[in-house]
């Protein structure tokens, strides 16, 4: 039985027995290459679920939609390892109760989709540990290397050109499972911390504020740069911050549901190289 069939069967069982109220997964999209999020709440609909190598979006962000989990019922969700890490972070940051989440874990390498064993988030710690040791390729290594080689002026010029394209559509924020704030700093206007205009200053402010807020929290799922309509390679920024946090604090985001958020905790032996 293919993984798709196995997972459809499991979804059917969970929904008919009432063990979960909804399964969030992937369905067919508007063309052969596209998959789109689907929300299945009756066993008759499980055949709409699709699982193949085109299922790349991180669906974990839907779990924190207002009211979804407030009835304390369980929800099942299709997740790749990055999505599972996101559940850990959301749990660690008190945004959801991990007990309510039933995971349909899978991973994709090349054209192959393989199931990940487990149901609850704790069961995937080995998978996550392996990624910490061996990060999978993101497909943008070349550009990353190029930016690494630049001097600060060149790097600034690179990002200036990229951010000049930003239109402040906030698709990056809306697509990101870690951007769950009910009122984002850029939407606060008393006082207005960040310019709302999409000019160079405003675009820099926005993208830098977001990069800082994602440091030690980004799981590198790529939802943001796939969502960006003007093709800014946003994940590179967050990837660089993740490396920094790993090096300075040995913190790999989303290891467990009890992991302390790196920017909201301290250890006596934290290095203090940045304190002047």
């Amino acid at each position: 039985m293919s993984i798709e069939e196995q997972y459809r069967k499991r979804a059917m069982e969970l929904l008919s027995g009432g063990a979960v109220k909804m399964v969030i997964g992937y369905g067919r999209g508007s063309n052969a290459e596209r998959r789109r999020p689907v929300f299945i709440s009756s066993p008759e609909e499980v055949n709409r679920l699709v699982l193949d190598e085109a299922c790349i979006a991180n669906l974990s962000g839907y779990l924190v939609n207002e009211g979804l989990l407030s009835d304390e019922k369980r929800v099942a969700v299709f997740l790749r390892p990055e999505g599972i890490r996101a559940i850990n972070i959301l749990a660690a940051e008190s945004q959801l109760d991990a007990e309510q989440i039933v995971i349909f874990g899978f991973d994709v390498s090349g054209n192959e989709v393989k199931a990940l064993k487990g149901i609850h988030v704790e069961e995937f710690e080995d998978v996550i540990g392996a990624i910490k040791e061996h990060a999978p390729e993101m497909g943008n290594e070349e550009l990353l290397e190029k930016i690494e080689q630049m001097n600060p002026q060149e790097r600034f010029a690179f990002w200036k050109e990229e951010f000049a394209k930003c239109i402040k559509c906030y698709a990056c924020r809306q697509a990101c499972p870690m951007c769950y704030c009910r009122r984002c700093i850029v939407d606060s206007n008393q006082p207005q911390w960040v310019n709302t205009s999409s000019h160079s200053l405003g675009n820099f402010e926005w993208n830098i504020v977001r990069a800082f807020h994602l440091s030690g929290r980004c799981v590198e799922c790529g939802n943001c740069d796939r969502a960006c309509p003007v093709n800014i390679p946003l994940r590179l920024i967050n990837h660089r911050m993740a490396q920094e946090v790993l090096k300075s604090f040995d913190h790999f985001a989303g290891m467990s549901k009890t992991q302390e958020p790196v920017l909201a905790s301290f250890k006596k032996d934290d290095s203090e190289t940045f304190i002047l």
Partner: protein, 337 residues
């Protein structure tokens, strides 16, 4: 015999227009984005693009622009109105859906108040549209009762020649004729045939959709929630849309000096209709998506006698969760059968 502009003359045309004081703009690919921008040479144009990622709206209604500068002193308040810089422009190689989108928005910007920012740029621009000979699966002009060679909003329409060597020229407006006078000697009379326009399948029954939307009973249909459940509430669809025109006025600065700006805004944002009291009449994403559809195909046409959609398909092409006007209207077509 028709008037022909051969591609190998285009660089000369660009020069001619430039020396006549026009800024020459058109479709280009720069910094990994397909957009309309000013060019120095014809070689910078990319006419192979089916459609740019960004719409032509950017050139008439930019994402942010200053309206006035202010300074406040003890005994005086000074304001300086800012209008866009004067600039005569020719936009060469627009698409019919983009050009018509601008014409769709003209009555809106001129309705109870004449938006000078919009009309100054409109009056200072010549739009030269190239009829499409290729379309992708998201193009849907025909569903909106338009076509790859619609002339609405264009000053000149060019039809690509079958032999790919240039375009047949149809001057449509006085402004178009004026701009092409500058290059009259570079045009030739010829009998080269034009390539057929792209075949764009009709995707939904527009009249049936409009009738369904006009029925007040459907305002509270559960359809809205089902169709928009996956919408993440970004502004990708509205900001890339040539006809979406909502804006917000923001003051940047402090008590003593600053600048008032006109910025794009989007009905997909939760903040869009949030009242000071905390109440939000469109408190759910489904109410916001319904607004987008109702505005385009019910409210706007009832006021301005045209749908606020030109069928460019960008909303479906670029949506991060594969939604869009097309799917919604296809589903409404089914419901109204």
């Amino acid at each position: 015999m028709t008037k022909i502009l051969f591609s190998d003359k285009l660089d000369k045309c660009v020069e001619r227009w430039k020396s006549a004081g026009l800024t020459v703009m058109g479709p280009v690919q720069r910094a990994n984005i397909k957009t309309y921008a000013a060019v120095e040479h014809a070689s910078e144009f990319d006419f192979g693009l089916i459609l740019t990622d960004r719409s032509i709206k950017d050139l008439f209604f930019p994402q942010t622009e200053p309206m006035l500068r202010y300074t406040i002193k003890k005994d005086a308040i000074n304001t300086d109105e800012c209008l866009p810089p004067r600039e005569q422009r020719i936009i060469f190689g627009a698409r019919a859906c983009d050009a018509s989108g601008m014409a769709i928005d003209d009555p809106l910007f001129g309705w109870d108040y004449k938006d000078e920012y919009w009309f100054q740029r409109r009056n200072e621009s010549v739009i030269v549209t190239i009829a499409c000979t290729n379309a992708d699966e998201f193009c849907m002009c025909t569903s909106l009762k338009m076509a790859p060679d619609s002339t609405k909003g264009s000053d000149v329409l060019l039809r690509p020649l079958e032999n790919s060597k240039g375009w047949q020229v149809e001057e449509l407006t006085e402004r178009g004729r004026e701009a092409f006078k500058t290059i009259a000697d570079l045009l030739q009379e010829g009998s080269d045939t034009a390539a057929p326009v792209a075949a764009v399948a009709e995707k939904f029954d527009l009249d049936a959709c409009v009738a369904w939307l006009q029925n007040p009973e459907n305002f509270d249909s559960k359809f809205w929630k089902e169709i928009s459940m996956r919408c993440i509430g970004c502004a990708s669809c509205t900001y890339l849309c040539p006809t979406c025109h909502c804006f917000d006025i923001q003051d940047e600065g402090d008590t003593y000096s600053g600048i008032r700006r006109k910025n794009w805004d989007s009905c997909s944002f939760a903040l869009f209709t949030l009242h000071t009291s905390g109440h939000n009449p469109r408190s759910t994403q489904s109410a916001r998506w319904r607004q987008r559809i109702m505005h385009k195909f019910n409210y706007f046409p009832s006021k301005f006698n045209a749908n606020s959609c030109s069928g460019c398909g960008r909303c479906s092409r670029e949506c991060p969760v594969d939604m869009g006007i097309t799917e919604t209207l296809q589903e409404i077509s089914k419901l109204s059968q």
